[in-house]
């Protein structure tokens, strides 16, 4: 009986030490593999108004994700997330139709990002944008 008690005690100690050792090894490995925060790019971007002709779109990276700047034929400027709200493909600009199409499942969005057809459940997210003195500031 006494022997059993000791055996159990030593077993618990061994299991405890093993758990601590595993945790001590797992922590650095998880830190090592964790995605790097702060490596997501700038949160403010400046373009010259001459960068985008009317009726065209310019794709760029914003806060670690794809974004798009459009200037409609009427001269309206909008900055939108280019990530389709359905399953995350990147939308494409159709210059002739002045809208966005998602190549994955045919989602359609207007130049302002509103859903006009297909499966997307939500409009494209808007990114704050301001125009002043020939400069477009995104973010």
């Amino acid at each position: 009986m006494e022997n059993d008690g000791r055996r159990k005690f030593l077993g618990v100690c061994l299991a405890g030490a093993t758990t601590v050792a595993v945790a001590a090894a797992a922590y650095p490995v998880l830190q090592y593999l964790a995605p790097r925060s702060g490596a997501q790019g700038a949160d403010k971007l400046v373009f010259a108004t001459t960068d985008i002709p009317e009726g065209e779109a310019k794709f760029f990276e914003y806060a670690g994700a794809a974004a798009v700047l459009v200037k409609t034929k009427s001269g309206n400027i909008a900055a939108l997330s280019a990530v389709c709200t359905h399953l995350g493909c990147i939308v494409q600009w159709e210059k002739d139709k002045q809208d966005f199409i998602c190549p994955c499942h045919g989602g359609l969005y207007s130049a302002e990002g509103a859903v006009t057809g297909g499966p997307p459940p939500k409009p494209l997210a808007k990114i704050p944008v301001s125009v002043a003195e020939g400069k477009i500031t995104v973010g």
Partner: protein, 367 residues
């Protein structure tokens, strides 16, 4: 606990797990006078597993491209959280593996366990020794530092001394006339894809041979009733009345593994720069050979041997002869006596050989 037992019962019913445990663990009997040296094989398996694991982690960020390799290693060391730990474990571990490998060899050498019927165990073990040296040599180039670059230049260059095929062999090893980006490509492939798999397979063969022959009885202490092996028919060497592998010897294995980790981690944490000379922190430059380029410690004896002989071919041949002699030792030293003190000629040669190796290494270090 009850659930665990039910899962175990379920598995046992299908594959006879209890039978395996009884046969391979609790009923696997080892000689009563077994000693600590027999646990070095287990330590080596743990080291190899750790090398594979840390190697996989390094591959997440390492870029095998001559333009980017050095930067990627610097990034792992200086910028990634705990990247230094992973890299040092891999670099220190490779050195430790060679060291423990040498101890394991010396113990089987001193206890004469390489003798009949365990010749194949020795030969497979010696193969592993050569393969581990190969994986160390190829890994050494990957950081693409001045040290990597020039150590590899010198190492591959020594094949030049081989008559007829030498110069072509050097070019083949390097993938070009000189060490350069093609060398990195082939060394990387050999280091991460070829040798780990080959080593794992040879470890498997080594263990298989061990299982078929049975573990040897140490020549010291209270010997079991002696029943010499006879070369007329196959028989597994049983150890009736011995101690079970589990839990008794598993505890010894675990103890040795803990002692190993204490030493290993002490180096990783307190002497991390022991392995690195200043040239290890400078990116490779093919137009600038650093002043004192030396191989890793376990190649220093080979390095010095090449240096002291006037002809490279002679130096190389002597090394090849020594390696062949060691590889074939069980077929040369055939007396059945295993106690080192009862083999004075062997003991004298062994100690002489070890001292010579140490002497050459020290000389190589200071020359």
């Amino acid at each position: 606990m009850a659930l665990l037992k039910r899962v175990y019962d379920w598995i046992d019913l299908r594959i006879g797990a209890r039978e395996i445990v009884k046969k391979e663990l609790t009923g696997y009997l080892l000689p009563r006078n077994i000693n600590e040296w027999y646990s070095l094989g287990s330590v080596l398996m743990v080291i190899f597993a750790l090398q594979v694991l840390t190697g996989m982690l390094l591959m997440v960020y390492y870029v095998p491209d001559a333009e980017k390799a050095f930067r990627s290693v610097t990034f792992v060391m200086n910028e990634l959280p705990y990247g230094w730990l992973i890299r040092l474990c891999h670099a220190v571990g490779s050195n430790m593996m060679v060291a423990v490998l040498i101890l394991h060899m010396l113990s089987t050498l001193m206890m004469g366990s390489y003798k009949s019927p365990r010749e194949l165990n020795w030969v497979s073990g010696f193969t592993l020794f050569a393969l581990v040296q190969g994986i160390s040599l190829t890994g050494y180039l990957l950081p693409w530092s001045q040290l990597s670059f020039w150590a590899t230049t010198v190492a591959t260059n020594s094949a030049n001394a081989i008559p007829v095929v030498g110069p072509y062999l050097v070019e083949f090893l390097r993938g070009g006339k000189l060490v350069g980006p093609p060398t990195l490509g082939r060394f990387f492939a050999v280091h991460v894809a070829v040798l780990p798999v080959v080593i794992a397979a040879v470890i498997g063969a080594h263990l298989f041979l061990l299982k078929r022959t049975g573990i040897s009885t140490p020549p010291f202490g209270s010997l079991e009733t002696k029943k010499p092996w006879r070369p007329d028919s196959y028989s597994y060497q049983h150890h009736p009345g011995g101690i079970p592998f589990f839990p008794n010897y598993a505890l010894q294995d675990l103890t040795s593994i803990c002692v190993y980790f204490a030493i290993f981690l002490a180096v990783v944490f307190f002497l991390p720069n022991m392995l690195f000379t200043p040239d290890a922190f400078v990116p490779a430059n093919a137009f600038k050979t650093p002043a004192h380029i030396k191989p890793e410690w376990y190649f220093l004896a080979n390095y010095q041997t090449l240096k002291i002989f006037p002809s490279e071919l002679l130096g190389l041949s002597i090394q090849a002869a020594a390696m062949t002699f060691l590889a074939l030792l069980p077929f040369i030293d055939r007396s059945p006596e295993r106690h080192p003190l009862k083999r004075p000629v062997f003991l004298a040669c062994a100690i002489g050989g070890i001292l010579l190796w140490i002497g050459l290494s020290v000389w190589g270090h200071f020359s």
